[in-house]
Subunit: 491 residues, 4 copies
């Protein structure tokens, strides 16, 4: 559900940079930081080090230190990818903890009497102190700048990307994650209902960040904010112009089975007072730089609570979700040539369809083998050919149920069950939902076909089951399902 | 500048407790936590442990964990001082770090190759993880409750008091301080101008928290919010109903020399557009639980910036400050019988006054010794006796200048200068102000007489000197002063 | 329920005047208007006329005209009572309609063919135009000034006072009333809940304007804003800092019978969720200048609607009201010596009490006559003397019921019933309430004793009766009552 | 600058109608009003009359009367054009003033002694009362409904259209205009800066209402809200979701000469701090129902004041305006065959161009006559043919200057000058601006060509001339111009 850092990242940072100029201008001694070579060659790297040292030395007091941070921030923003990688590596390596002091303190710790609680605490406290690297203090100072917190969030997004190939950056990335995890504690977040009366600038970001079903236009967005829809976002009070995560809800009658009806601009709005079901049809994380800091489960539960106050008639809370990993998983299975993938009856039906259809060429290429199945689903237009689609429905839904319920990652600990393979399923199961229903051809868009052969799934949130489901999944890896899904998965 | 936890602490917590009840009611398994013996005897302590374990186990997901925190919070609030001390000690001792894992990790750290940066970072990361005690995760969960952050701030105030005599609590207190320091980072604070149009509930807190010159009534407060006054406070967005620190400013002509004129309700308001001087006459920390987390210097500098935009004619920024430590220091000196305290000329003048005044009894008791000085200033009514007051003015101002500028604490490090003794002086000197002028009988209230023999001092904030003064004081311990103060202190 | 213009009227206007200075300064040609003799002698009156003419001539466009209005407003504010009376009389007489044009248009009107609808309309339109006096255009222009609408409201308060003795001002007063009635149309008013979080400046006005049970202190006010209380006010969006009218409500169990319990600061707050009754115990008009422009009935009905949403358990809406005209009416009756005022049994009981009490002197002075009754209630301490109070209870409640229900003003039209004498009763009966219960010694304050011999009354708002009661009272003058009150009034 | 009632009028009213349903449902006796035949045949008209009578009779008090108004409002909204015309005619004719009472009062008025001021005032007051028709009270009651004021504004727009052909409606239209003029007094309006952070719903209305240069898309709108642009609107506090009038401003260097540069989405934003000129390039009235209630001049002057505070470097305030009446006027002149329209030299040049261009056909058709001029400008592509465009520039700009400055409407009063013919010119001249510069081909859009042969004009607002210009134009009909325009107009 995450989005890559948008290409406008640099552009936006540049704008803030302009805002910071005035702050930076008040500090003397930032010589040369405003005209760096974007690649940050060594002679410019030296200027960066001087700036970082000045900032840490807190010359002129804490207020001046923050001003120096502005200078460094602007310098960072003026660099290209190469320059930034260098900047971050300097920060990571040269402003890390003092390893010698860490070692000395570790040795001290080993000397303390295990039964002397107060002394142990004090020694551990000292260790905690020496483990705070200077680079963390530097990062913290950006928070006092206008939009400084967004700067740090986006810096982490860059850092995560760079750290994949550069282990030396991982410690810095980790520092930043911990800092952001503290600042974005769920207690600070505000749940906001977003409406057509919200600021256009905010709505524009919703359009940009929507990651599940792309918003095509302002008219499309307006439709998603109509009387029978709700859109809720978590917002941080110090970053009010940015959604952190948001969910789109449709108030309908009965479980929604396909997303095209939900997104149809020409469909009339229903009377939400009469709805009995709330469908969560899109959840998008908006900040790549907050990956790993979870608030999705809080979002859904708080929205359920809000909706239950506003709409007492609603008694069903469910998602209509994509299954992003089904086709990739199936394709791997097919590539491996797993023989038992199709049941004999399924294989037979498929063969008949191919023959009966007079699909002679296709039939020749694939007849008598599970290859025919592979070939059939490889053709993008199969949903339009009714006999083929009918024949595929059985095996695909069965395999999809199996994929959602039974396919697991390797367990982290010996003896425990692994989590399910599908990331969206894992998210909702962790939250205590259950796998309720598969919807054949619920999403016929190119993306839907590529992800899940057009299928969608409802995850049901039953309020009195959530806690039990959550524990069963967390503890024994048990997946809660409807009877129908259970039968399918077992077949 | 701090205030003790107000006696209403328990009462206020009780109110929030009521707010939390609904949240807590949603969790099963909080058996017995709502009817504890306020002393928390051992059988009830056991229930607390069960509650803490449940909360940590995150049974039912993070949302349920927060609900369990509400139950524990209410339990805490139902205890008396004895019960709370026990509760906190359980938390401190039994939910501390796993010392064995800490030792193992320390041993690991000592084994890492010093030159292998990435591995070092990873090992240090593991150490940082094992140093996070379970009790910290418990505390964090209170933040998601309504007013949970204020609960934690006030809990720290209690903890600081209890930890003075109980070293076992110091680790917990330190955890809480670090948590709050992160959450109350200056970047999150909002500078608000407080006016007579602010909510009465907020103004009531200003009355309660004012710690320098007590606010006598709502009429007194209104006077301090008049056209020629300003009151600014730092507020945290998640605790908007509470000031963190606030400063009161008078817009006047020329340096104010006594606080009685400033606080005189019958004095007419001046036209602030005509003022050339801004006097900061009161700064109060409002949250005892945030002691040691400094934002005072940010406050003054941000207020100076705001004022300079609104009032371009104002060219002088100064305090009118108490000198809380002068009389205690002087009394210690006098008790020690330091012979050189008075200059010969001063001693002579004093003797004449005593004799000439026919103060025969007093004279007899003190004549020919520095005791006469001690006796004179011990009589509370001396400011009303003009000859005596005149004779005291010289030696007292001289000694006060000496006290402010030269009297130091022992240096923390060998070779460095110690900080000045007076806490208010230390605060302003650290901010880069200079000691500008002593004001004879600037505060004749009982408190003023007891603290500083009625004297007050102006600390001057000269914008182009602040950085230099700050560094000179931080670095070499040099105190910036006006020429007059320097001469006095040297005499 | 109205209050006189507060003594601070002039002072407040002066403040606004200062605000207007800048606006006024932009206009040339306001010669001499800023240094008038406060009495407005003839030579200064001439300057006023020039100002008024300039303003009407709209020299420099409408924007300049508004600036000229500022000059005139400041001039008005600088005058004393004599000067203002002169200013207003100039405005009233010299900027009235053009009487000749009115006569001509009247003559035209009489000429129009009665059946020619369009021509009639046009002629009436012309008449409406010539009836708009220049002074009305002048008044309108004050509305564009900051707080101009409050200026006009307060000007009308002055005008009403002056017009009592000066009929020449009545036309101007009427113009202003019509203008304000249009601007303060109920559709523009906003119902606001006032709480302890409201601006102190607004709350201060509530203290000032409370007209029924004086608010003694800020603590008293805070008590009236506690959990089990509500205070609602109507506010106009262009005069947001001023309440227009406000009502105080207590959420209780059962009909409240005395005001002392309601106003007792030491009484604990109830749980409002458990209340079954909402008591409206004080309604105050805040703006003397809006007298005759009614919104009281809207206020009560809108508050009832709000409360019924927030507190579904509340099923009774009632006032606890003063009876301001009872004692004055009774005293007039007694002075007239009406013989049948007391029933024989009542007279006998009273005589016994007097005799039995050994009140020989009093007895002698009043025995055998209704004078004894008169004398007894004239002594201020009778409520403390139990036998006397017991004996008075019967006749006083009976007479009070009679006063409330049967005593009427002369009817406006032949054949219709007159309205009830008591102004508060008339207000609530017009709103559709019924007289429910008399409360013996419900208000023992000096004011309560003087107004109603300590009695208070509950007017009950039964939602399904309101419309019927209103019509019965408006149409046939029928007063809705409980059975008990009806029996009492008939006795 | 006005726009017709949008086709969505009915739809929007229907939505409010839904809001009103709940209110209306509370009243009994609205029999049949919710199922009218949209044409309002006579049997349904009778139901309307009953509803109107009930509403006026205020049965059940004022609150009920407002509820009845809701019923009537919904009934009105359910009608089609025919039905509404009938509804309005019933209101206009049957709820007009009581003509007999008007006549009687007129007769009374003629009887009053001219010198008895107070009696005259009272009689005039009575006349004013009888001139208030019942229909006005009915209209007023809509104001208490949600969005009732917008209902009335839109009703007037319909009424104005219908009254053009139906004089019987004019009195009602006039009543409504007077009511709205009082409620939309300039003193109640709030000037709001509209930005990209404004509610999308509000911005959508800006797109709809823009009447000068159509807004093509949300991207176009965003561009008009960029750093170097400003958009200000007047808003009424009781109709906050609707702009009343708005102006779009570009901050540029030097007088803008064509609108294409201003509206170019690909042009970079300038630094507004460096701009010396503010160009008002679009002013749109948003509410057809407020026609004739002027606030345009207040808007421009208040915006100038705001801008002068924010941008001290801006020293020129000017419009870039269309000339909507030039081509229509010119075409009328040409149709009349006015011989002196072109100067001899101009005629000669044109003839040469036609001949030299080898435009043999065109030349033949038009040669030797002023007809050639007519024919040339009739061809839509002339701006692209350089020699023709060059030859047309002289005569067209000259004639346009003449049109703007000299062409007048017939004077209202004998002896006074008439106002200028062009409505936009009249608007700005009344505001005190001067005609500064004509811009050749400043608007080559189809609309620009059709209105003004592609020309645009700058009206300059010089702050120290505004009052003088306004008076000269209002008084003697003198048009302020630059020297260049004056010469052109005289040629």
């Amino acid at each position: 559900m995450n989005k890559e850092v948008s290409p406008g990242f640099l552009g936006r940072l540049m704008t803030w940079g302009a805002v910071w100029r005035d702050i930076a201008d008040k500090v003397s001694g930032a010589d040369g930081l405003d005209s760096l070579n974007p690649d940050l060659p060594e002679e410019d790297a030296r200027k960066i080090r001087v700036g970082l040292d000045d900032c840490l030395a807190s010359r002129g007091g804490e207020v001046s230190a923050r001003a120096r941070a502005a200078t460094l921030g602007r310098a960072y923003l003026s660099l290209n990818e190469t320059g930034r990688a260098r900047f971050l590596e300097i920060l990571a390596r040269e402003y890390a903890t003092d390893h010698d002091r860490v070692r000395d303190t570790a040795a001290e710790l080993l000397d303390v009497d295990r039964d002397d609680f107060a002394t142990l605490q004090a020694a551990e406290g000292r260790m905690r102190d020496v483990l705070v690297p200077p680079r963390l203090r530097l990062l913290t100072q950006f928070n006092a700048l206008p939009r400084g917190i967004k700067f740090l969030v986006d810096m982490r997004a860059e850092l995560m990307r760079l750290a994949r190939d550069n282990p030396a950056l991982r410690g810095l990335e980790r520092d930043l994650r911990d800092l952001l995890a503290s600042w974005f504690d769920i207690g600070f977040l505000e749940l906001q209902r977003i409406t057509w009366n919200s600021p256009a600038a905010f709505l524009e970001k919703i359009i940009t960040y929507e990651a599940v079903h792309e918003i095509q236009s302002w008219a499309d967005l307006k439709d998603r904010l109509d009387h029978d829809r709700r859109l809720y976002a978590f917002v941080h009070p110090n970053m009010p112009e940015e959604p952190l995560i948001f969910v789109e809800v449709a108030l309908v009658n009965g479980l929604a089975s396909n997303v095209h009806d939900l997104l149809d601009l020409s469909a009339p709005a229903l009377d939400p007072e009469e709805a009995d079901t709330a469908i969560f049809y899109s959840i998008s994380n908006a900040q790549a730089g907050l990956a790993g800091i979870s608030f999705g489960n809080f979002l859904i539960k708080q929205v359920v609570e809000r909706l239950s106050h506003s709409f007492p008639k609603v008694n069903t809370y469910s998602t209509l979700s994509p299954i992003p990993g089904f086709r990739p998983w199936l394709d791997r299975r097919l590539a491996e040539g797993e023989p038992g993938l199709l049941l004999p009856a399924e294989r037979k039906t498929l063969a008949q369809v191919v023959a009966g259809n007079g699909d002679s060429d296709a039939a020749k290429a694939t007849s008598g083998s599970k290859g025919s199945f592979k070939a059939l689903i490889a053709e993008p237009d199969w949903p339009g050919r009714e006999p083929v689609a009918n024949a595929l429905k059985g095996p695909l839904t069965r395999l999809c149920a199996r994929y959602l319920v039974n396919e697991r990652r390797p367990p982290r600990q010996e003896g425990r069950a692994g989590t399910v393979l599908d990331p969206v399923a894992h998210f909702h199961l962790t939250n205590g939902a259950r796998v309720e229903r598969l919807n054949w051809l619920g999403d016929r868009s190119a993306k839907g076909m590529a992800q899940s052969a057009g299928m969608m799934v409802n995850y049901l949130y039953k309020l009195n089951e959530i806690e039990r489901n959550h524990e069963a999944y967390q503890g024994q890896g048990k997946v809660a399902t409807s009877t129908a899904i259970r039968s399918l998965a077992r077949a």
